[in-house]
Each structure stands twice: as C-alpha cells, then as structure tokens.
Amino acid sequence: MSSIEASQTAQAASLQTAAAEARRAKHIERAGAQDRIATFVLTAIVAFVMLLVVSMVAYILYQGIGMLFHPGFLTEASRANGTQGGVAYQLFDSFYMLFLTLVISVPISLGGAVFLVEYAPDGPITKIASTAIETLSSLPSIVVGMFGFLVFSVNLGWKYSIISGAVALTMFNIPILVRVIQQALEDVPQSQRDACLAMGLTRWEATIHVLIPAAMPAIVTGIVLSAGRVFGEAAALLFTSGMSSPVRLNFLSLNFSSPTCAWNVFRPGESLAVHIYKIYGEGSPQAQEIVWGTAALLMVCVLMFNIAARVVGKMLAKRMTAE
C-alpha cells in the first residue's frame, strides 16, 4: 500500500469517525433534551396534584369553617329533615358508631392477625382466610351495606339501627385492620419470638407480653387511620343505620330500650357523611350552609385522625425506646 493510499484511507476513516461522532453527539443531545422535558413534565404533574389537594381541602374549609363557629351548629339537633338547625346528633351518632365499630373490629382483627402471623404463617387455612379477607376488602361498600341490610336489618330484625350500621362498618374495617396488624407483627424481629419460645413460653405468651407491645405503635397508628376511613363511610350505612336520627335524643337516659335514649344501639342513627348525602341537593341557602359546614366538620375530624395517628404512633415509639 502506497503512502498516498494510506493517507486517503486514513482521511476517509477520520471522516467516518467524525460523522459517527456527530451522530452520537446529536443522539446524546436528544437524550439530554428528552431527559429535561420529562423532568419538566413530571414536575408539572406533581405541582398540579399538590395544588389539587391543597385547593380541595382549602375550598371545603373555606366554604364550611364559618359554620363550625355558628352558634348551635355543633350543639343543636337538626330540624326540618336536616335543612335547618345543627348536626349535634349526627356528630354524636358518627362517633358512637365509630366507637362500636372499633370495639367489635379491633379484637377480631387482632385475633385474626395473630393467628395468621404467629400460628399458621403459611398453611392452607391462612391461604383461604387471606383470600377471604382480600375479597372483603375489594368488595364495593354498597354490597357490604346491602348484605348488612339483609342480614342484620331484615333477617335479625334490627331494622335501621346504630348496631346494624356498626356491624356493617366492622365488615368494612376488618380487612384494613387485619392487614395493618399483620404487617406490624411481621415487623417485630424474629429473635424476640425465639427468645420467648426458647425459655419454654408459649406463642400466646410471646404474643401478649412481647410481640403486641413491641408492635403497639404501628398497631395504634393503623387503628386511628382506619378510624378516619370508617368515620367518613356512608354507602354501607344507607341501608343499615338509616338516614335519620330520632328527632329528640336523651343523653341522660339509661333506659337502653327507649327509642329516644341516645345510647340505645337499636335506634336509627345518621352519620355526618350520610347527612351530607341526604341534603346535598336541597336548594335553600340554609341547607347549603349546613352541607358545607358538615363537610368541613367531617374534614376537620379526618384531619385530626390523620394527625393523631402520626403523633400517637411517634409518642408510643418514643416512650418505648426511652424507658
């Protein structure tokens, strides 16, 4: 090969490399631009979502917070089918049903979760039960409400009552709680279990005295968060607790079978969420004020549950590590 030929080949080769280099540079530039555009779009999406959430919460509070300080709104019974007066009974019924729901659902969920985690971590029973719990959690709440209506209100003859509502809410709450408690127990180190068992203690003693106390912060957080969900649930209550509270409630009465006794679980009751659903379409300005006031009240409660869950969980965890 002559030297001229060689230099020509070299030139061609360098030209080729230059072209390839240019293509690569272009490609890199394109990729870089793509990267910047993507980052921009994603930032915009997140900004939009945050704006949406903040403006929604702000809007509800703006529309309704004034009503919360309106004299009588929190302390008076509703009148004219809810379009006048306050929401005192609805507020009470909401908390009363929540309380009953937790009284029923917490022990059952705790027991269920303990069995699934401590006694049968991967047996066939666990498989069936887990599927059942998963099914329950994915069922529309209206179906749970209809089942509650059929079984408790009709078949057991509880009619529209606080207890029917609480049991329906329990069915709605159990899958959430079981999962939370399961997770909390699974997060306790295996070595704690081993320590108990190796000293001749039962799984039961290990669970009661060591594992549940260790998992307590996570369990409490989970329960309070689920309480927030239960508090705002309405679809499951329409046919179980009903859509109205008695006109007059007596909080001092201890005659638990009296229809006006506030503590009577067999009287009908109406939660705040159901109240909103009942009167949202009423056109009168007064009714609208009540609707937004109720929504703001509901939001404030939910926010409080949210904050309480975090604070209490942190406090318990801190106390445990400090002792």
């Binding site: 047996g123 320590a195 190796a198 001749g200 003693e205 590590t321 002792e323």
Partner: protein, 279 residues
C-alpha cells in the same frame, strides 16, 4: 504441620495456661444429653444426616464447620426449637434425663426451662433489666417479690453482670451495651435454672473484649452444666471447648477432644477446614 494449625495449637496452649475450669471434669462428667441417629429435614431437604453425640456435664462442646453445614440445625434440635419451623422434621432419639425427648408427648415448655438457649444476636425484650429476668420465671409460676428479687440477683451474678447493673435494674435493657445485653440474655436463661445451655454463635455480634467476657463466663457456667456452643470461630472453639464436633455438608464428620481435633485431625475435610482451604 502448617502455620495455621500451629497457631491453633498455641491458642489451645494459651487457654490451658489461663486455666480452663472445666478441663478437669473432661472425663468424669456424666452424660447430660445425647443424640442417637438424629436426622433433620426441611421439607424434602435432608439438612442433617444421622448424628449421634454425647454431651457431658461439666464440659463445653463446640460444634464447628462451614456455613450451612448443619451445626445450628443440630443445635436447634436439642431443645426442640426446630418444631417451631414449619416443614421441619426431626427423626432419631434425643436422650435427656433418661427419656427420649423427640416425641410428640414431650412437654416442650418444661423441657426448654432446663435446656436454655442463647442466640447469635443479643435479643433482650423491650423491658427493664429486672423484667427481662423475671419475665419467664413468672410465667412458669415463680411468684413472690422476695423470691423474684433473689432470683434476679442470683442470675445476674451468675452472668457476671450484677455489679454493672445492680443500681439500674429498672432501666431499659436496650440501654445496655451489646456485650452486656448478651450477658443479660444469659442471666435470663440462668433464671430458669437450666442444666444444659445451648449457645448459637453467641459472640459473632460482639467486640473482642465482650467476647472474652462471655467465654470466661461459659467456663464458669460449665462447672455444673453441659454447655454446647456453635461457633464460626475456630480460635473460640479451641479456646473454650473440651470437645469439638466438626460438621460438613449435613454430616457430623469428626468428634473428639478439642486438642486432638485441632492438632491431629484424621479426616481430610476437617484438615482442609482447619488449614483454611475453605471456610
């Protein structure tokens, strides 16, 4: 003889010098627990093949071997802890106090009081030091403040921890150092008055000074008990134990006096292991 083996010999010699309290009992101790053809299966996996060993009162026996060789599996069979693992099956005889304990009839809760266990990671409960000790005895029916107080002191003294913690018994066990926590776990086990204690790599999470403290403690504890220790550290085995069993791939390959095992291994695999051909 290779350098490594030589260094083991010298460490054996060192422990001889420092005086191994239990050494003198080496031949006289009665058999505290023994196994006869013990096999362990995890599902279809045959993790431990027919193992027969005797463990003597007044002695420390070390179980050594590479990871996954079956030594921990074997240890966990002795207090029937393997029953807590789903799909795990143990066959063969485990003789303890004149009976075979590897039967469904055996009361594991009583059994585990007299065969204690100490784990790899110190695992005290999230309770006070006092509560950590009395927790299990209380649930086994020991009541009475005076009795429990005495038990706490005895156990902590037994674990050489009393002087360090006697003024802060109501403080959380989590405030203790790793070595102290491990000694607390030993004290917790002593509170049940066991005559066999199983140690599952008790020092692998500890610093050298804490390790020596635990090793000293084991020597003292062995005076009236049988101690069985699983360890990764050949130095530790040679320092503390009277007898050593070498496990390899689910087989108990060689068993004998520790000095013989470390200086005159007969099995090629043991020799390779000691000389660092694998670990």
């Amino acid at each position: 003889m290779s350098n490594e083996t030589e260094s083991f010999m010298s460490s054996v010699a060192t422990s001889e010098r420092t005086g191994k309290a239990s050494r003198g009992h080496a031949t006289s101790g009665e058999v505290a627990i023994s196994t006869n053809d013990v096999n362990v299966y995890y599902g279809d996996h045959h993790a431990l093949h027919g193992t027969s060993l005797d463990f003597h009162k007044g002695e420390i026996t070390a179980l050594i071997g590479p990871s996954g060789c079956g030594k921990s599996t074997f240890l966990r069979s002795l207090n029937l802890m393997n029953r807590e693992i789903r799909g795990c099956r143990v066959t063969g005889e485990i003789m303890y106090q004149g009976r075979n304990i590897n039967t469904p009839k055996e009361n594991l809760y009583e059994l585990r009081r007299s065969i204690g266990m100490v784990f790899q990671q110190p695992n005290p409960f999230r309770k006070s030091i006092y509560e950590n000790i009395v927790f299990a005895p209380k649930r086994h029916g020991v009541t009475g403040k005076a009795e429990l107080d005495q038990l706490v002191e005895e156990s902590l003294r037994g674990a050489a921890l009393w002087d360090e913690v006697k003024d802060k018994l109501d403080k959380s066990a989590f405030a203790l150092s790793g070595g102290q926590q491990q000694r607390l776990c030993i004290a917790r086990t002593l509170a049940l008055k066991p005559d066999v204690i199983l140690f599952d790599e008790p020092c692998s999470a500890l610093d050298p000074i804490s390790t020596l403290a635990i090793e000293d403690l084991m020597n003292t504890l062995a005076e009236e008990r049988a101690i069985i220790i699983v360890t990764h550290s050949m130095e530790q085995a040679s320092r503390v134990s009277n007898r050593t069993a070498f496990f390899y791939m689910g087989d108990m390959v060689e068993y004998g006096e520790t000095e013989q095992i470390f200086t005159r291994p007969t099995d090629q695999r043991l020799n390779d292991y000691l000389t660092g051909a694998f670990s």
